[in-house]
Amino acid sequence: MQFAILVNESPYQHQAADSAYHFAKAAIAMGHRVPRVFFYMDGVHNANRLQEPQQDDRNIVQRWSQLAADHDVDLVVCVAAALRRGVKDEILAPGFRISGLGQLVEIGIEADRLVTFGD
């Protein structure tokens, strides 16, 4: 099955990004596909490669990049939400790209399920 995932909250502040990641990992481990994760509203902060969490903490941004590299997951950041928050191409972590909201609707149509993680 194909799972599209929507993430609406920033990393570290809220568990939503962690829950979304663990869900995606589990789905892939079970043999499902996660063609796209869409980051909206404060969720766009998940794409900022300048983040430096402390050594003993998980690196949420790197985790997403690794997932994209290992399993061909398209990480899409909403352009309007990103620009409003200063998230631009030059600070995107590997695997992320900035695009429009149409990418969310499109994957909602294409995937078998859309799973939402928010506040």
Binding site: F3, Q15, A16, F23, R113, L114, V115, T116
Partner: protein, 103 residues
């Protein structure tokens, strides 16, 4: 339909609203409590009566990793709530269809 609630019912009304709507749906709808939502399954919480009905019908699930993280032992939960891991979460969405997040 697979509903998730991610906030404590002692703090917000999201679980209450979800339950009121779930009651009117067919037995094919299921509820999974995640994140702070897992506190809703505490036997001592005011949501226990309604959730017990759901649990007795085999329609209530709680995300285990979120329970453990919060120090909530399974014995503190209402009877009949099924504890699942993330793969169980995925399987619930496979089996019961569209996801509705009561965020």
């Amino acid at each position: 339909m697979l509903h998730t609630v991610n906030k404590s019912p002692l703090q917000t009304r999201d679980l209450d609203s979800c339950l009121l709507h779930l009651e009117a749906q067919s037995a094919e709808s299921r509820l999974l409590l995640i994140e702070d939502g897992v506190y809703g399954a505490l036997a001592a919480a005011p949501s226990a009566t309604t959730l017990s009905d759901l649990a007795n019908q085999g329609r209530l699930y709680v995300l285990g990793p979120d329970l453990s993280a919060r120090g909530v032992a399974p014995e503190a939960l209402i009877a009949g709530a099924e504890i699942v891991d993330y793969e169980g979460f995925v399987q619930l969405i496979v089996d019961y269809g569209p996801h509705q997040a009561w965020v």
